[in-house]
């Protein structure tokens, strides 16, 4: 079968590309989660300066395109003496961009934790930091997990853009294969199926499992 021949010839490149995509995905997710937590909390600060920094960050990264940010980080930052390796620039841009969306999810979830939980923590004389870590954040985490499931899929899709700064991910490899063979259906079609399998068979089940685990932990199962 022609398609099996295609897979046999280009299988190695497809697997290499998929591995790079998986790395980019995990690193970008780590960046996004840290950024989201940091700026989501800053957004709720009582200090106006801290709050303004967070609002500025969130609006700038949500208001411009991921592709624009990626190119800015990769092509413009070196002009200021900041040279980032393309692999680093790739997941950093995706993570910083998605983190801005995540920060709004963090903010919304923290505000959605019932008032009584805050008051009870105050009544027990908990210090502010412990109130946040032990009482509010675990419950907020449970509230924001479902929308994070969508965001994590967006991160996976976002990593495809790093191919445009020549990171050799799956997108990059199938583009090269298409240029060399003109087999667009096989090349791009395979990549679509791989991304779909990753999202549907890996990311979504993992997020669901996490939701269940967290629900059990906070006694809401």
């Amino acid at each position: 079968m022609a398609y099996l021949d295609f897979l046999q010839t280009h299988g190695d490149r497809l697997i290499d590309g998929t591995v790079v995509t998986v790395f980019q995905f995990f690193l970008a997710t780590a960046v996004a989660v840290s950024v989201a937590l940091l700026f989501g909390l800053m957004r709720l600060s009582q200090n106006l300066a801290i709050r303004s920094v967070a609002v500025g960050y969130i609006e700038i990264f949500r208001g411009t395109s991921l592709l624009v940010q990626l190119f800015w980080i990769f092509f413009v930052l070196p002009l200021f003496g900041i040279n980032l390796d393309k692999f680093l620039a790739g997941f950093l841009a995706v993570g910083l961009n998605m983190g801005a969306y995540g920060a709004e999810l963090v903010r919304g979830a923290i505000l959605a934790v019932p008032r009584g939980q805050w008051e009870a923590a105050v009544a027990l004389n908990m210090p502010r930091s412990r109130r946040m870590w032990r009482i509010v954040l675990p419950q907020a985490f449970l509230i924001m997990l479902p929308p994070w499931g969508n965001l994590v899929i967006e991160i996976l899709k976002g990593t495809a853009l790093v191919a445009l700064i020549s990171v050799t991910d799956l997108m990059f490899e199938v583009r090269q294969i298409n240029i060399a063979t003109f087999k667009a259906v096989e090349a791009f079609g395979t990549a679509i199926l791989v991304y779909y399998a990753m999202a549907r068979l890996f990311v979504t089940p993992c997020m669901r499992a996490l939701e269940r685990a967290m629900a059990r932990k906070t006694g809401k199962a």
């Binding site: 624009v68 092509f75 002009l79 996976l156 495809a160 445009l164 997108m171 583009r175 667009a184 679509i192």
Partner: protein, 223 residues
């Protein structure tokens, strides 16, 4: 260290004005296709044939969970393999329209499902025809939640148009890259593109919000 050159900014301004027009056209055209396709996908998930329903459901999921960039390449390069050559603009609008159509069908579905079951039952109880039930009872209530989502995706489609630059659609990103290649200046073009996106998407997001509130008030659904 590099100096910001205002002279270059003014010199490039006319080209960016032109490119902004093309970006807005791409976003508008793509959105028009998406609004219609979203309805088609929604209708196909409500037909009485289970096979069609499952296939459409799976297709929508496939589109939503794979990168738009990949879909743009797919549409643009698959045609020629079968002797059908699409212009970059055509391929780009189709790809972006199908992608956001899948998202919008979910928005519509969410809106309709947010209407309480009792509203349907009441419409049936007073013997309203299905069409009237949709038009007078369900859709007006499904609209406000759907409008928020639709507005967000309008801003979203605008922010995704730079991806069309990869197949040679001469929108903002493509223009900036071309200028960079001509003049070896990257600071001003890329920064200007960012500023233009910010200048359009922030007010747009604000208007979407205001519009949603207005519709809610208009339909007597003040929150």
């Amino acid at each position: 260290m590099i100096e910001w050159q205002w002279g270059l900014v003014w010199e490039l301004a006319p080209r960016f004005v032109d490119a902004t027009g093309k970006t807005l056209f791409a976003a508008g055209g793509g959105y028009g296709i998406a609004v219609v396709l979203g309805l088609v996908f929604l209708a196909m998930q409500r037909v009485p044939l289970p096979a069609v329903r499952v296939a459409t459901r799976e297709f929508v999921e496939l589109i939503r969970s794979t990168p738009l960039l990949l879909q743009i390449f797919f549409v643009y390069y698959v045609g020629p393999q079968f002797g059908l050559i699409l212009a970059p603009w055509t391929a780009g609008l189709i790809a972006i329209g199908v992608h956001y159509g899948a998202y919008l069908s979910e928005v519509y579905r969410g809106g309709i499902e947010s209407v309480p079951k009792g509203q349907w039952e009441a419409a049936r109880a007073i013997n309203l025809p299905t069409v009237t039930a949709y038009r007078r009872i369900v859709l007006p209530q499904a609209l406000p939640p759907a409008i928020a989502g639709m507005g967000n995706y309008l801003v979203g489609i605008f922010k995704d148009t730079p991806m069309l630059s990869v197949i040679g659609v001469a929108e903002l990103m493509h223009t900036a890259t071309t200028i960079g290649a001509e003049s070896y200046r990257y600071l001003e073009p890329y920064t200007m593109v960012g500023a233009i996106f910010l200048a359009i998407s922030l007010p747009a997001a604000f208007c979407v919000n205001a519009f949603e509130k207005w519709v809610r008030r208009k339909l007597g659904m003040a929150k």
